[in-house]
Symmetry: C2
Subunit: 340 residues, 2 copies
DNA sequence: TATTTATACTAAATCGGTTTAGTTTAAATT
DNA sequence: AATTTAAACTAAACCGATTTAGTATAAATA
């Protein structure tokens, strides 16, 4: 019942470690190990349930069949979904996922990247804080295969899979505008993240195309640490005279949840008085009162493509896949804008 | 910029690998390495940003400062939350988490356990399929530290952190009974899982205490693979004559979501005609129409306690913590039972 | 028959650490 | 002066694989 090693197999069969290792790695034929010997080894290994020690293998091969996944927070719905897809896809390739949450702390993220590399991960998928330019540059320099998801560094060329935040919010705004909402509030986070910046720009662009001047008092940029409190005041301000919005776009799902609670407290009728669109979904948004019109990010695609690209990188296929993908987010129309 | 090794430090300072290794592991004093030498080593290491190769260290130490987490599905809200807490807590102990989803497949789970062990994880946290008794026994025999969460093997003694499913559902049923609901349907999954069995028993016990005979046609046990379809028929059957339930308990959050959609389709008024309690929460259940009364599992405690216990095991503290904890789930009253 | 070539292996180095069992030098003790 | 002891190190084995550079034997060729 104890763990069996290559050495044990070799000794038991009066063979060398080399032969055993070669055969177990399916390199018996090319190394002219006789069929009989191969069979003996394979049988013995199977019978005694041999499984290689991944650390030893990783150490000597310099790789580990493991990819690292660093995300802001695994308990965030959005990232949990993506992580699920990444894991499934990675497994298909025979890879295991080592994951970690940065908790949105760049220092933390930096440490995690180091730690992953020391664990010889063969590649990284990274939803970065976007405040670790140096680390990213280092990854490039060291030629560590990696793919950024969700958040990129616009200043340098990297592999990435990204959702078109700009167009996404535009779709949200267009939807509202087409339903004749004209005073559209935008509730978002301070743009430490490029994604947030893009979403804000998308909002402004949509208004512009409708020849509406964007009004800064309708734009609420909340602090990343204190948004739970700030959102209350912001919503009151949006809803009350003189702003008196007739619609609000929330730039991410947790702001939507918080915002909805607040709107209830303020007794604002959705969609009657204020229409709502959420950028990004939460599982039960179709069950909410009213069901929330949202811009849904293609989580499965983000996961799948990022792994595909990473594997391509790892295998060194230079000419293969596109190494950068911009995906469309799509509008899911529900009742929160009064369209149904 | 290339990776620096212990050997490099040793060579540069004209010292042996041994000394360098000892000092870097804070074992310089006990090994009588002079203060000066220690300082030299430490300074050099810091300056050149030395970080040990975790694989090599793991291989030679036989451990890895990594714990394995195997759950049914990381994209499930419940497990994502738990995983988040486990990760945070493990980090506090200086550990990294290697995680994997079994996708509810016992074979898969079995493979993952093997794979984790080969990666020299120092311990495992496992939300098992409950169909791998042999693997669990093996873990015990090999003295691999592990903790079961959420799902246990009643036949053998293990460390575990568990929610009291029996009492949890009882609370749900009691709540309904106290609101004078008497025909309470129970929608659950076929009891491959002990948790499901306990929940069913809790339901029956609650009825019994109210001297209500439990009626099998009010109990819908759906198949694990096909519940999405089966739930439609089940709900129709519950709602229609002769069953005509006035309340339904869903034994897990995704059944609740599906069920609510179905009830809408059937135009059933909640809570007017049928009251609802969900075992287990989903993020937006407070925003749903009507807000869903639920039994909430203490995700943070599950995560924290399981890591505490595991660390205790890993460190070999026999007499330390309780190695088994049964946690209370608590009722969150919202409007779906008409109580508010 | 001597030489080449294939076949079927193996010894030993290597990956980057940790650890055991010393060794060398100087100071302290008898 | 001879012996112990302590201080400050180090050589080499080890963890469990992979991999390079062979070797021994038999068969084929010249």
């Amino acid at each position: 019942m104890k763990k069996i090693l290559i050495k044990d197999i070799a000794n038991s069969l009066n063979l060398s470690k080399t032969s055993v290792s070669l055969v177990l790695n399916k390199r018996g034929d090319e190394n002219k190990i006789s069929k009989q010997t191969q069979k003996k080894i394979l049988d013995y290994a199977k019978k005694h349930n041999y499984v290689p020690n991944s650390l030893a293998r990783g150490l000597s091969r310099g790789k580990s069949e493991t990819i690292g996944l660093i995300i802001p927070d695994i308990s965030d719905d959005h990232y949990a979904k993506i992580a699920g897809h990444i894991e499934k896809k990675a497994n298909d390739y025979g890879y295991v996922v080592l994951y970690a949450s940065s908790n949105k702390d760049p220092k933390n993220e930096s440490k995690l990247i180091q730690s992953m590399i020391n664990r010889q991960v063969d590649g990284l998928i990274l939803a970065s804080t976007q405040q670790n330019l140096e680390d990213i540059k280092l990854l490039k320099k060291k030629k560590v295969p990696f793919v950024l998801i969700d958040r990129i560094y616009p200043k340098i060329k990297t592999n990435y899979v990204l959702v078109d935040n700009f167009r996404g919010v535009q779709k949200a705004a267009d939807h509202l505008l087409n339903l004749n909402r004209r005073k559209i509030g935008f509730v978002t986070l301070k743009p430490g993240l490029d994604a947030m910046r893009q979403r804000l720009l998308g909002y402004k662009e949509a208004l512009k195309k409708f020849k509406i001047n964007s009004n800064n008092s309708l734009i609420k940029e909340l602090s990343n640490v204190n948004y739970e409190h700030e959102i209350k005041e912001s919503l009151e301000d949006l809803v009350r005279f003189p702003n008196s919005v007739d619609a609000i776009i929330f730039s991410t799902h947790y702001l939507t949840s918080l915002g909805l609670r607040e709107l209830r407290r303020l007794n604002v009728k959705v969609p009657h008085e204020v229409a709502i669109v959420s950028f990004d979904e939460l599982g039960a948004f179709d069950l909410v009162d009213p069901p929330i019109t949202s811009i849904k990010q293609p989580g499965a695609d983000i996961g799948d493509f990022s792994v595909d690209i990473l594997m391509d990188e790892i295998k060194g296929n230079e000419g293969g896949l596109d190494k950068a993908r911009m995906l469309e987010a799509f509008l899911i129309v529900r009742k929160s804008c009064g369209a149904l």
